[in-house]
């Protein structure tokens, strides 16, 4: 691996951890005693394997393989695991665009509902992305490739605008 790649991984790892720390602090100050945020660590990846047991899972994703590839390719990435106490309830990863002007939310998945009741994840995920976007000076956040109309409509309620040409929703970071 190039020294510059290793250097970027180390520098941006610090920013990722800081973004997650700020977002976690905001959740806690808002009275959220159950949810916590972490990097996508080995514990999260192991827990994600249980999602394959779901009969309702929308996508048959392998997060262990996907995260390994993403981590190798994108040292400036953002990543977040959402936990309800000690139960994994969501995963997401994304990265700045090559121009650096936008932060992409490349993949996000909430734990399948048939595996047990859980709180929502998206507010916490967006919270983390918003802090990281400001730290890396991104001017917008892009949610890539919504899987269906219902999810797309949901993102639009957060103020995101759908761009059909690239199949993503965008919102300016103010």
């Amino acid at each position: 691996m190039l020294a510059t790649h290793v250097d970027a991984e180390q520098r941006y790892s610090r920013l990722r951890r800081e973004a997650l720390a700020v977002a976690s602090e905001v959740l806690k100050d808002a009275g959220d005693a159950r949810r916590r945020l972490s990097e996508i660590n080995p514990e999260a990846l192991f827990a994600s394997k249980a999602w394959a047991d779901s009969a309702q899972r929308v996508k048959d994703w392998d997060w262990i393989e996907g995260y390994s590839v993403f981590k190798f390719r994108y040292p400036k990435r953002f990543e977040v695991a959402v936990w309800d106490m000690d139960r994994l309830i969501g995963l997401s990863m994304g990265r700045p665009t090559y121009q650096g002007t936008a932060l992409r939310l490349d993949v996000v998945e909430a734990a399948p509902a048939d595996l047990g009741n859980r709180p929502g994840i998206f507010d916490a995920v967006l919270l983390g992305y918003g802090v990281y976007a400001r730290l890396v000076n991104a001017r917008e956040i892009r949610i890539m490739h919504p899987v269906n109309e219902r999810v797309k409509d949901y993102y639009e309620r957060f103020g995101y605008e759908y761009m059909a040409a690239g199949d993503y929703l965008r919102k300016e970071v103010l």
Binding site: R11, E18, A21, V22, A23, E25, V26, L27, D29, A30, Q56, V58, K59, W61, D62, E65, G66, V69, F70, R73, G90, T97, Y98, Q99, R104, L105, D106, V107, V108, E109, A110, P112, A113, G120, I121, F122, D123, L126, L127, G130, V131, R134, L135, V136, N137, I143, M144, H145, P146, V147, R150, V151, Y154, Y155, R157, F158, G166, L174
Partner: protein, 66 residues
């Protein structure tokens, strides 16, 4: 952030943060404001919330602008 001091951020990023007038506290306040708005909406979160294309990611297909 581990530091409240913008000077702890490296070079160009520090300049951009200073231009925007962002400090740790300001970023945190913006996040708090955002969470208040998000919470009003998140009660209706779809139970099957999923987005992205992991296959494209694994294949290395690049859909980013150059």
């Amino acid at each position: 952030m581990t530091s409240d001091n913008i000077s702890d951020f490296e070079g160009a990023r520090r300049e951009r943060l200073l231009k925007k007038g962002w400090t740790k506290e300001k970023i945190k306040r913006l996040a708090e404001k955002e969470l208040k708005e998000f919470r009003k909406i998140s009660a209706d979160e779809p139970s099957d919330l999923t987005s992205g294309n992991m296959d494209q990611l694994l294949q290395g297909d690049d859909d980013d602008e150059k």
